[in-house]
């Protein structure tokens, strides 16, 4: 780990301004991802700005009937919040399917959205990785790629985004609220927040340097049966091979988002539209143009079957 400077910001605006001033500065929230990566030399910030004291840790109702989740709300608290459990059970379920109790106690809403991939080559500084060291190549292509993406991949990178929470937020049409170094704020639809790898897999979101996430808002509850189905080799404490976030309405319509298949939470409008036709139609739409490797080709079948099982369970629940 490289030596670094550490400071606490006094307000969100102050944090953004401070970060913008120092090249190589980073925010630190729960630290459960950033510190791990710093210890092994994958992340090398020279300056850490601690955002834990910024009072961004409340969950509040919004004027339009939704909720605003502070960037620093811990995953445990968010999952246990009565409003979330009642109105957005999908989010609660996705959170509880992630990591472990201890980690969720530390992990924050913003940190979770910005957690980095679990590609093993990304973690090993001896290996080529375009995400860690742009231009060095991608060791996962042609290497061990069982966990890797099957849609939206590029010749530069086939990594997945590992978050469970973000998949639920994608299905719930969340919006990310930020403050920029000049003090201005903006709202970014979650659909546009994470980017595909393209030729710049080192870029993962549309955030500018120094831009701080202050909250994530959810629109008014959409009801329906909400299920999060995470598929993994062991029963707990493992990243998803594939996950399905499903909202099924009584009329058979609904929304579906996937985790474990792409560089971002994956949702397609034509897949939502195809839901009434069943799992095959929806998963064909979701995975159109899939590019698989020898190791991860099984995910295509897995998505379809996991979706079918989730749909069946949702129908049973609503019946």
């Amino acid at each position: 780990m490289k030596p670094f400077a550490y400071e606490r910001a006094s307000s969100p605006k102050d944090a953004a301004a401070k970060a913008a001033k120092t090249p190589g500065a980073k925010f630190i929230a729960g630290g459960t991802n950033l510190l791990d990566l710093m210890k092994i030399g994958v992340e090398e910030p020279v300056h850490l700005i601690d955002v834990n004291g910024l009072k961004l840790d409340t969950i509040e109702a919004t004027d339009d009937g939704g909720v605003r989740i502070g960037a620093l709300v811990r995953n445990t608290e968010l999952a246990a919040d009565t409003r979330i459990r009642r109105d957005y059970p999908l989010l609660s379920r996705a959170l509880l399917a992630g990591a472990s109790g201890q980690l969720r106690n530390k992990a924050t809403t913003a940190g979770n959205l910005l957690q980095r991939t679990r590609c093993p080559y990304f973690y090993d500084t001896n290996q080529p990785c375009n995400k860690r060291l742009p231009g060095s190549g991608c060791a996962a292509i042609g290497g061990f790629s069982r966990q890797h993406a099957i849609v939206g991949v590029s010749k530069s990178c086939i990594a997945t985004h590992p978050s469970d929470m973000a998949v639920a937020m994608r299905a719930l049409d969340a919006t990310v609220e930020t403050v920029r170094p000049d003090g201005s704020t903006r709202r970014i639809a979650i659909a546009d927040f994470h980017t595909l790898p393209g030729t710049t897999p080192n870029v993962e979101t549309v955030l500018a340097h120094g831009e701080l996430i202050t909250a994530v808002t959810l629109p008014r509850p959409v009801g329906g049966v909400q299920l999060y189905h995470k598929v993994r080799d062991r029963a707990s404490y493992a990243f998803a091979l594939v996950s399905v976030a499903l909202i099924l309405q009584p009329d058979g319509g609904g929304r579906v988002a996937l985790g474990g298949v792409a560089h971002k939470p994956w949702r397609k409008s034509d897949a939502d539209a195809a839901l009434p036709k069943g799992a095959k139609a929806a998963s064909d739409a979701l995975l159109a143009g899939a590019e698989t490797t020898h190791d991860n080709a099984f995910k295509v079948t897995l998505v379809e079957r996991a979706l079918a099982a989730t749909l069946a369970e949702a129908k049973e629940t609503s019946a």
Partner: protein, 732 residues
């Protein structure tokens, strides 16, 4: 003391303390954090510095140049040691590759430097500044392709044959010829390899985590080129080993080199992501099994061939061992072949040989039973043998495999299993049951101990035996208490110090029986010393209730030693009983699994092991060993695999996020039953090993249960959902 005739009645048979499920004597130290592990010995090595090891970034080749200038000038750095300035190093007897690489690199993450600094953070930061320029050379990383060039190993007993295997196999009514693979696996114990090394002049002390004190004292000396007498190794508590700590590894050698260069004690703990490629692992195997049987299920021919790979000079995974002994059959063959691979060095991991071999053999037995239309329990029983099938003049000393299978079947409710696979459904789950035999050889190793009767009447045992979490402290205390007729709380046990008498150490499930037999020998000597002191015939003296009773007199032990402690020291050595009798441990594993009909996710629902493994010295500790081994077997069956990058030549998933082992949620209630057994051929303890038996076969029982649930036969471990999902029936 020499053990060369079967044991008769002896003091252990009183079973006042031995055989009781007493709690761990060192348990309170561990649960209160006061048992100090190697990396925590600040009490004996205050002011030590910290070392961080740099691992090679390539699998094979040479270091063209290594630039340590930036690291040396980084804050807090006291020394940087590489092959260039380490001085001449030897190689330990038990190591295959050098523990400090350079200029030649033999495997990925082989240590190439240690950076020593005042704080851990400084050492780690500076270690990241060491820049190495490599020249890669091509290597062999794929067992499948290297297999064709594999050779018969020079050492050991690679092949065996009896009768006419080929002829009998060809003539058999029902045959199976199948190939199975097991992947490379990592020990993944909780405590990383860790050492604090300290020099006083030319004398070296290492506080380390090591299973075999005497081997490793020797190898430390050999590697550093110093006399053995100048090395002291101390390892009283070890946070798991599973064979990964049988040998001196880079933490110990690099700490010693770092301490010499820095002129200060140095602490090194291998960083987790380094362990899997830097240290040893269980090698992958390809195994071909052929079984031929007559229609009634009698095996006529059984053949088992195994291929594994290792670095030049390394050894094979002896996966065919059990097939020589487990089932009857007049015509037999086994063969072991070893390929050269440039992956990190392979070596022992819990039940080397049988753990991998039973994974394959016990699926093959399941497949054969199905072909024969027989119940797999009955098929195994049909082919039981009470003698070594290759050398029928050698009987098994004890063999209760049939009893294990029958007891297990009735307790588990095996009769409810539906033989036709894929036919039991419970909601979203496909349900199946599987069985496998458990088998692991017993080994006895020479083992010494010293016992002191202190002036206050307490008994102290000293031996360099190790406790890797297995319960050695407790069973040694029980043995000493039984020998001297004192309650358990009057015994103190001191372990893991090379200044103590040389024990069997912990490995190959030989530690429990062998180390306590050594304590038995020392106890006999101490009893003699006590009797002599009282002027009575030792064979007429009895020891009970803290007293010695002889010639009508009852004297408290504290009085006997009141004017000076008494000492008994001896070594237990073995004659040829092991040759005359085949000593093995047996068991039967029963497993029920549920497989998600949609996603093929596999979850274990119930597990039962019935074991027959000689006298169980402490049923509680033994049960803990067996349930731990069963858990490890679930890992082997369902998730553990060091994935080889065949282009770059290393294990890719080299941390505990990538290398998955079972978590609590994966493990259901586990039941363990020990059958009544005493084996007088093994030692005066009449015990056998039990720590490894529990892993042998259990993975195959899981795989067989998955087959029974789904009808999909997976022959390549681990049995993961991607190998099943494409073959499941459509859903919906």
């Amino acid at each position: 003391m020499k053990f060369d005739t079967p044991a008769t009645t002896n003091p252990i048979d009183q079973l006042k303390v031995v055989g009781k499920p007493v709690d761990r004597v060192e348990g309170p130290l561990k649960t209160t954090g006061t048992a100090r592990y190697a990396y925590e010995r600040h009490d004996v090595a205050p002011d030590h510095a910290y070392g961080v090891i740099v691992g090679a970034g390539i699998a094979k080749g040479r270091i063209r140049s290594i630039d340590t200038a930036r690291a040396k000038s980084a804050p807090g750095v006291l020394a940087v040691v590489t092959a260039e300035n380490a001085g001449k190093l030897g190689k330990g007897q038990f190591n295959t590759a050098a523990l400090l690489g350079g200029p030649e690199i033999q495997h990925y993450h082989q240590a190439v430097a240690i950076v020593v600094a005042a704080t851990f953070e400084q050492a780690r930061a500076a270690a990241q500044l060491v820049k190495v320029d490599y020249e890669r050379t091509p290597g062999a990383f794929d067992l499948k392709t290297a297999k064709d060039k594999a050779a018969k190993p020079k050492d050991g007993d690679p092949d065996s044959a009896k009768g006419d295997f080929a002829g009998a196999f060809a003539a058999s009514a029902v045959t199976l010829d199948a190939t199975y693979t097991t992947p490379d696996q990592s020990h993944a114990m909780m405590e990383p390899h860790a050492t604090i090394a300290s020099w006083e002049g030319d004398k070296l002390t290492v506080w380390t985590a090591n299973q075999m004190i005497a081997w490793s004292k020797g190898d430390m000396a050999k590697t550093l080129g110093i006399p053995k007498e100048n090395v002291r190794l101390v390892s009283p508590y070890i946070g798991g080993g599973f064979g990964g700590k049988l040998f001196v590894r880079a933490d110990a050698v690099m700490a010693a080199l770092g301490a010499r260069a820095a002129g200060r004690a140095v602490a090194v703990a291998l960083q987790r992501p380094l362990i899997m490629n830097n240290t040893t692992h269980r090698p992958a195997t390809i195994q071909r099994i052929r079984i031929g049987a007559s229609k009634d299920g009698t095996i006529q021919a059984i053949g088992h061939e195994s291929w594994s790979g290792d670095l030049p000079g390394g050894g094979p995974e002896t996966a065919v061992q059990q097939t020589r002994l487990l089932y009857a059959g007049a015509n037999r063959m086994t063969a072991t072949r070893l390929a050269v691979l440039d992956l990190p060095e392979g070596n022992a991991m819990r039940a080397p040989g049988e753990a991998a071999g039973m994974l394959a053999l016990e699926i093959a037995m399941d497949e054969m039973a199905e072909k024969l239309g027989m119940d797999p329990v009955e098929f195994r029983i049909r082919n039981d043998t009470q003698v070594d099938p290759e050398k029928p003049e050698r009987p098994f000393s004890q063999r209760q495999l049939v009893q294990c299978l029958r007891t297990g079947a009735s307790r588990f409710g095996w009769d409810k299993r539906v033989a036709k696979p894929g036919s039991t459904r419970d909601g979203r789950w496909l349900v199946g049951m599987g069985v496998a035999a458990a088998f692991r050889n017993n080994m006895n190793m020479k083992s010494a101990a010293r016992m002191r009767l202190e002036r206050n009447g307490r008994v102290t045992v000293e031996t360099d035996m190790t406790d890797i979490g297995t319960g050695s402290y407790t069973i040694i205390a029980q043995t000493a208490a039984e020998m001297m007729g004192v309650p358990l709380d009057r015994v103190d046990v001191k372990l893991g110090d090379s200044s103590f008498p040389i024990s069997a150490g912990s490995g190959g499930q030989w530690g429990g029986n062998s180390s306590t037999a050594g304590v038995y020998a020392a106890g006999m000597k101490l009893r003699e010393a006590v009797a002599r002191k009282l002027g009575v015939d030792p064979s007429k003296a009895t020891f009970e209730g803290g007293n010695v009773v002889a010639g009508g007199k009852t004297v408290a032990l504290s009085r006997v030693a009141a004017d000076g402690e008494l000492v008994g020291e001896d070594t237990m050595e073995y004659g040829d009983l092991e040759k005359r009798f085949q000593q093995s441990t047996f068991g039967a594993h029963f497993v029920e699994v549920r497989v998600d009909a949609a996603t093929a996710e596999i979850r274990v629902e119930r597990m039962l092991a019935v074991c027959a493994a000689g006298r169980i010295i402490n049923p509680k500790a033994a049960r803990s060993q067996v349930i731990g081994a069963m858990t490890m077997g679930v890992g082997a069956a369902l998730m553990e695999e060091l994935v080889v990058d065949k282009r770059l030549g290393f294990f890719v998933n080299h941390d505990l996020a990538g290398y998955e082992v079972p978590v609590h949620a994966d493990i259901p209630h586990q039941e363990v039953v020990f059958l009544e057994e005493t084996d007088p051929t093994t030692s005066p303890m009449k015990a056998k090993g039990v720590g490894e038996l529990g892993i042998c076969g259990v993975g195959a029982a899981v795989a067989n249960a998955v087959y029974n649930a789904t009808g999909v036969r997976v022959r390549d471990y681990p049995v993961t959902l991607d190998k099943i999902i494409g073959k499941l029936p459509p859903i919906g």
